[in-house]
């Protein structure tokens, strides 16, 4: 099946056409403020380049940093009502108490604490106060808020309170979009609640963006399904992306690492993705990005998403060189998307890392004559600084002294030396489009989340049954049976229910049949 992977970045949009494992075409166009127009430009160019008809395409997968950037830049966020089901517990710290002030202001301070929520064993803290929820609904409606986040204590153990409250508020506030925290994951009330609020506040943007993306695809004459790629590298259908935009937060690093694994054919490697302003470094283990174990901050807010363990340094193709006598530095300040206007090799006046790469003979970009006059000593010092910063970053990722290959991807990977800290460096073909390729090869998942009684069966049998169910779902969604692996497996005993009830959740992912 022919499929297209697109990475809509802050600066550039990359698109690839793939047929099975073959890469048929790769293009890069500048990202435009108009989502539909930018997508159409990339799509029509890549279709022309691959010389295929729109109707030949079986699948489009889009990776976008749109929603992460909205949070980071505090733009396009809707005012959101927050309803916490907790009383009498949970009063000591209000929702969003640890948010940066400007983000809190963007979302507003529409906070309601009411009864409900569960103890650790699922028994109720207090029953839902239906008249109070009605009153809250009226107030939200009166304020004209269209986004609601509901969080309940221990809702990952028992979510009935959140679902019941959502039903009442859905009636009381017609047209409002509602996110419940049990859909957002694990224990840790403040982190889960913050993720839920961010999700609700992104709803309106998600609705517009997903509609624009679908429109762009349709107007290019494509009739195939459109997916977004999510944090764990699997497909998120457009409807789910509209409901859960936060699930795309980490798709950028995930796609670039999975693309690097595909391009290099390596399962174990350190991936260095060098962009214009920053470099992301992460570890690939069994072909997947290693996951972070601690809280992950998004735009200054602590969340508990499962995200790749990636760290960034301020070094990229646009990094500005500073040279003050004894101290030469490259970055963290960058000319960013203005590289093609400001770098010396493009006729500009700013000495950047790209100019050093050209002067040192690592790359042939722009007009090399513009950097011929640079002081050789300076070029060498800058080259050493770049190599040292990359070597330190890569060393931080190593788990053992055994040699591990380094895969350099991203447009700025011309900065990467041939060898780094004694490690072999690979720069696979199409390295600049690793993100789009990662989107194109997105996997499919299958998940089973249900409550079973452990009176008639063992815990192991319940988990095995759930895993079999999840595998069947993944295969039905197009996964190759041999490629399926379990990515999440948990069982939570629900002491409040009779019959030794346990919530069992298993998620599997697999490669698609192409």
């Amino acid at each position: 099946m022919i499929r297209i992977g697109i990475d809509v970045g802050g600066t550039n949009t990359d698109a690839v056409v793939m047929d099975g494992r073959d890469i048929r075409a790769v293009v890069k166009v500048p990202t435009s403020a108009d989502v539909t127009a930018g997508l159409m430009a990339a799509l029509s160019e890549v279709l022309a380049s691959a010389a295929i008809a729109p109707t030949d395409v079986g699948l489009v997968v889009i990776g976008t940093t749109h929603f992460t950037n909205a949070v980071i830049e505090r733009r396009h966020l809707s005012p959101t009502a927050v309803v916490r089901l907790c009383l009498p517990a949970g009063q000591c710290l209000p929702p969003m108490v640890d948010w940066p002030a400007d983000l809190h202001e963007a979302v507003g301070n529409h906070v309601y604490l009411t009864t409900g929520g569960a103890e650790f064993d699922g028994s109720p803290i207090s029953p839902l106060d239906l008249p109070d929820l009605q009153r809250i609904g009226q107030d939200i409606r009166h304020k004209g808020l269209g986004a609601i986040a509901i969080s309940g204590i221990f809702s990952p153990v028992r979510d009935e309170f959140e679902r019941e409250a959502a039903a009442i508020l859905r009636d009381a506030v017609p047209g409002a979009t509602i996110t419940v925290s049990s859909a957002m994951g694990q224990l840790g009330l403040m982190e889960r609640e913050s993720a839920t609020i961010l999700n609700s506040s992104l709803h309106a943007l998600a609705r517009r963006t997903v509609a624009s993306l679908r429109e762009g695809v349709a107007r290019c004459g494509l009739t195939c399904p459109v997916f977004l790629s999510q944090n764990d590298g699997t497909l998120l259908d457009a409807e789910a992306a509209r409901q859960f935009p936060v699930l795309t937060f980490a798709s950028g690093p995930t796609n670039s690492m999975r693309g690097a694994a595909f391009l290099s054919g390596l399962q174990e490697a350190i991936v260095v993705d060098i962009g214009g302003t920053t470099t992301d470094i992460g570890l690939l283990s069994k072909g997947f990005p290693r996951q972070a174990t601690t809280t992950v901050e998004v735009g200054g807010v602590r969340t508990n998403f499962r995200m790749p363990d990636v760290f960034s340094i301020g070094l990229g193709g646009g990094s500005v060189v500073t040279d003050r006598g004894t101290r030469t530095d490259v970055g963290p300040v960058s000319v960013g998307y203005r590289l093609t206007g400001e770098a010396l090799v493009f006729g500009g006046r700013t000495l950047t890392a790209t100019d050093i790469a050209v002067a040192a003979g690592w790359a042939d970009i722009g007009d090399a004559a513009c950097v011929r006059g640079l002081d050789r000593g300076l070029v060498e010092r800058c080259g050493n600084v770049i190599a040292q910063r990359l070597a330190d970053a890569v060393d931080r990722c190593r788990l053992s002294p055994e040699p591990i290959p380094v895969v350099a991807v991203g447009g700025g990977s011309i900065l990467m030396p041939e060898r780094l800290a004694g490690l072999e460096v690979r720069r696979p073909a199409h390295f600049a489009a690793a993100n789009a390729i990662g989107a194109a090869i997105a996997q499919v998942s299958g998940e089973v989340d249900r409550i079973c009684s452990l009176e008639a069966m063992t815990r192991e049998a319940a988990l095995a049954e759930a895993e079999a169910g999840a595998r069947d779902k993944a295969i039905a969604a197009g996964a190759l049976p041999d490629s399926i692996v379990v990515t999440e497996r948990e069982d939570v005993p629900l002491a409040y229910l009779r019959g030794n009830a346990t919530r069992v959740r298993v998620k599997v992912v697999g490669d698609r049949v192409f």
Binding site: I153, L189, P401
Partner: protein, 374 residues
């Protein structure tokens, strides 16, 4: 007496996590609550042990229960105040000041929340000078004070008073089962002690000590230098090793569930291997077959880049860490104390406590470093 501000609380949370030696629970939620109290206009006042009258009443107060519950079921807010009032009603006397039973981790800050609400001062001292896993492992208890009568309060308004437990271990057992019924987390206030006993048995100036450690970490972060030499200089500490975690395993040893971290030196320590054994806290540091440091001296594991503490639940394979040893207070080094908090109390048979050289100058009460570097 001196007032603490939001920046002091920020530093205290960092220092308390470091003195937690891997345990004690995260101070994050308690820190936010203290900062909220200050924003409401309440005061957090720190009083030196020396300022207490012999006949004053000092009460320890803190959170009890499972950390996984306390990050999910946030408190109502008045639990500590209800426990305090229950104690005062039972004693027929007013409490003069509150104190932390352990400076390591979240309970360094818990008494401050209630003290601010009740407008009482908090004593610049605690019962451990670090963190320990069980209630009887405090200097105030080791030197003769009993935890009961004790009060436990939940978010609904229930207050349970344990008028008399026949031993500290019995109180621990009774309180634990009560906490489970209260939903896995509660606020507990132990029997008030006299100012005289606090002055004799509490580890002095540990709030100042924790704030100062936090200040050094923040200063180092601001100036992009390593916090490790600064902490060692301030605390008479030993920088044992910079290392990478190459293995992490949990197993049974002497009937206790313990974990063991295998380390491989990096940087100036490349080529050497070491290991750390932990239960709730880090217990021993071993290199080349020799235990170099053991409990009750403090073994501290910090992120090698940021200087912030890494607790046992956040340890993971591949982490780059700096390991420091800090001398514990002399109150933890007597034969009576070592019987309760020495290596044998943790099932480490055959490990002798060989104390680190003590700090030459004790920490002075209320001597808090300025916020900005001089």
């Amino acid at each position: 007496m001196r007032d603490l501000n939001e920046a002091d609380i920020e530093a205290l949370a960092i220092g308390a996590a470091i003195l937690g030696t891997g345990g004690g629970g995260s101070p994050y939620i308690a820190k936010l609550r203290c900062q909220q109290a200050l924003r409401r206009g309440e005061r957090i006042r720190l009083i030196a042990l020396e300022e207490l009258d012999d006949d004053s009443l000092v009460m320890t107060l803190g959170g009890i229960g499972a950390p996984t519950v306390s990050i999910e079921k946030l408190a109502e807010g008045g639990e500590g105040l209800r426990a305090l009032r229950a104690q005062e009603a039972f004693a027929g006397r007013q409490v003069t000041a509150l104190m932390s039973s352990e400076i390591g981790g979240g309970n360094a800050l818990e008494p401050m929340i209630t003290a601010a609400a009740a407008d009482l001062p908090v004593v610049d001292a605690d019962g451990c000078g670090r963190a320990f896993p069980e209630m009887q492992m405090t200097t105030t208890s080791i030197y003769g004070h009993h935890s009961t009568p004790a009060a436990l309060a939940d978010e609904h308004g229930n207050v349970v008073l344990f008028q008399k437990a026949v031993s500290e271990v019995w109180y621990e057992r009774l309180a634990r089962s009560c906490v489970v019924t209260m939903g896995g987390s509660a606020t507990g206030a132990e029997a008030p002690m006299s100012g005289r006993h606090a002055k004799r048995a509490a580890v002095p100036a540990t709030v100042s000590q924790a704030i100062n450690i936090g200040r050094l970490v923040l200063r180092a972060n601001r100036e992009h230098v390593s916090a490790i030499p600064l902490i060692c200089a301030e605390e008479a500490g030993v920088h044992l090793i910079d290392a990478k975690i190459v293995d992490l395993k949990r197993h049974l040893r002497g009937g206790f569930a313990v974990g063991e971290i295998a380390l491989e030196g990096i940087g100036a320590h490349a080529g050497s291997r070491a290991s750390v054994v932990f239960q709730n806290e880090f217990l021993t540091f071993e290199r080349d077959g020799t235990v170099e440091v053991c409990v009750p001296d403090l073994i501290v594991i910090l992120d090698v880049d940021t200087g912030h503490a890494i607790s046992t639940d956040l340890l993971r394979y591949g982490q780059r860490v700096a390991i420091l040893a800090l001398p514990c207070h002399d109150l933890l080094r007597t034969p009576e104390a070592l019987a309760v908090v020495g290596p044998r109390a943790f099932g480490l048979e055959g490990t002798e406590f060989r104390p680190l050289p003590p700090r030459p100058v004790p920490v002075q009460s209320l001597s808090i470093l300025p916020e900005e570097s001089p």
